[in-house]
Symmetry: C2
DNA sequence: CTGAAAGCGCTTACAG
DNA sequence: CTGAAAGCGCTTACAG
């Protein structure tokens, strides 16, 4: 069997408790004792058994991250940022893919990995406001990014409204008035799609511009493929448009592809803007104007709040909005 | 405290052992008993404690996946595939980012997550052949993708040689003779960069074409940014070239960007091919000719072999090469 | 600063 | 098909 604390204790000539103290960084140990224990740990190749610690202490040092899918660059980059932020707190991350499916999201909430995670970062896409009751989890949880419940939970949010507004105003300033939107979810009242579309419409209204209904193109999952399909449909409809606001970058990149295929010049004929600022947006041709939602800040803040909750912080629930930034690139401004 | 097996047993009027039998799917239980237990589990909201099970049984149902970084689309898409494949075996995946740094890769091997993972899928980039000794891990392990040790381990490999050869032959068939390569790692003798470059050079040699030394462009990490920089350097060198083989897709996409910036026409002036077939390759402008390494097959096969090892399979170590496919797109063939 | 005892919630033999 | 006992490897009070 594996080396246990007992073995280390024997080897070092101390009690198991002392080894435990060394492992957990308990400060009041004579330095000589600590050195002796560390030497024994090294000599025997001892490795703490997390399950045993967890069973007794109720802690694993693991946090869960539930996202729709890692194939979506936004979530892959978010996961990277979360893992990095968690590491700084000595925490490991366990990722769960929900596919943005309501049942799977509920499952992620209901069974926190067999008591295996100390806390959960949760990026819900499939849940609706009626699911608020399910948010009363036993494990601490922080909601990420998008959909807003006004429930008893901490949120670290993208500034969807201001970010979308900035992108829309940018298109208006270029003189564009017939702006298509790609990625709407008709019928959905909450959720990113609705929030961003409403912010878009409100910005237009403020500028005295009428939104054009035929230019709102639905797209279920926000992939490149669906973005391309939506743009194909828009082009086929023969509706006139001089700009596109894609509700995220992958949609925008799919749309750019379809526009290029049909020989539509970007930004001369049609200006295109996205949302997310994934790495890819800097390298597409043309490069993509987009809203940086502050991914690194979101990850770091969320982990920090979660760690606080795990340590018993029971102050009022917080709603933090990350700082966005509009990056203007060739798809609206030209080379 | 949380509900335990004992509580469920009491509620159902059976012994804890019977509850345990139900939880683990032990078949010889009277159906009526099972129903009663399941009802109690439901009524009490019981949730098995994985740590306790692990402590006794030595199993967690978790496998580790060590990759360089999730921000690289290839690894994000691989992780997605691995998570999906693991799910089919009832396994959860814990991802570790190594940053392709040797020390971190060694750490991932040395401490298998505090006895928390039953097996490890490992995609090494930083290790060299001298590190073979470190592969003797106590937990079962399968190596993914790239660098080949002839050590005592299972491998599921990309067909780097045949894939690169196919891409190179395609460029030669187009009549290109001055083929640049982006992403070399000079001095490295093993590893993906070396394998792919050597396959490229061998293919040229077979065709009686001399490789041109000045056209081999180094790039450390295979990001879009480094691909763009390498291409900028190549253009600045004023060397003549009529094709580019990028050693992966992100490099190719960065290179495409730099070519577009300088007004070089692809594929008319320069044909470009990559490797990996990430989703993005279908949607870039121009779309990217690339080698599909068989990601889904790699993930499924690796998980399958790992599960076998976890179940005590101790037959000879296997080296499996996934089926590649060359996808010809606009970056070499035009619209 | 360090030790001896108890117990976290399961599963593994062993009976029956 | 089901039960009673032991123990996995830690940490948590409690002493000293």
């Amino acid at each position: 069997m594996a080396v246990t604390m007992r073995d280390v204790a024997q080897h070092a000539g101390v009690s198991p408790k002392t080894v435990s103290n060394v492992m957990s960084g308990y400060p009041f140990i004579r330095d000589e004792t600590r050195q002796r224990v560390l030497a024994s740990i090294d000599a025997l190749g001892y490795q703490l058994n997390i399950s045993a610690r967890n069973l007794k202490s109720g802690r694993t040092g693991i946090i869960g991250l539930a996202v729709p899918e890692l194939s979506l660059p936004y979530f892959a980059e978010l996961a990277d940022a979360v893992i990095t932020a968690a590491e700084e707190h000595g925490l490991t991350v366990m990722i769960e893919q929900t596919g943005a499916i309501r049942e799977r999201e509920l499952a992620a909430l209901a069974r926190p990995r067999g008591h295996l995670v100390d806390g959960l970062l949760f990026s819900p896409l499939g849940l609706g406001p009626d699911d608020v009751e399910h948010l009363h989890t036993s494990t601490p949880m922080v909601l990420l990014g998008e959909r807003i419940f006004h429930g008893p939970v901490d949120h670290v949010m993208i500034d969807n409204v201001a970010g979308t507004r900035a992108a829309t105003e940018h298109l208006l300033e270029l003189g564009r008035r017939r702006i298509a939107v790609i990625g709407t979810h008709p019928g959905e009242l909450v959720g990113t799609a609705a929030i961003r579309y409403d912010a878009f419409a409100a910005t237009l209204a403020d500028a005295g511009v009428e939104p054009i209904e035929q230019l709102a193109m639905p797209a279920g999952p926000w992939h490149r493929a669906t973005g391309a399909e939506a743009m194909e449909a828009l082009i086929a409809s023969e509706a006139r448009f001089d700009a596109v606001l894609a509700l995220n970058d992958t949609l925008a990149l799919g749309a750019l592809r379809a526009l290029a295929k049909h020989g539509v010049r970007v930004p001369d004929d049609v200006a295109v803007a996205g949302f997310d600022d994934i790495d890819e947006a800097q390298y597409s041709t043309p490069s993509l104007t987009t809203v940086d939602p502050g991914r690194a800040q979101i990850a770091a803040t969320a982990v920090e709040i979660l760690v606080g909750r795990m340590n018993g912080d029971d102050t009022a629930h917080r709603e933090i909005v990350a700082q966005y930034a509009l990056h203007i690139r060739e798809s609206t401004a030209g080379p």
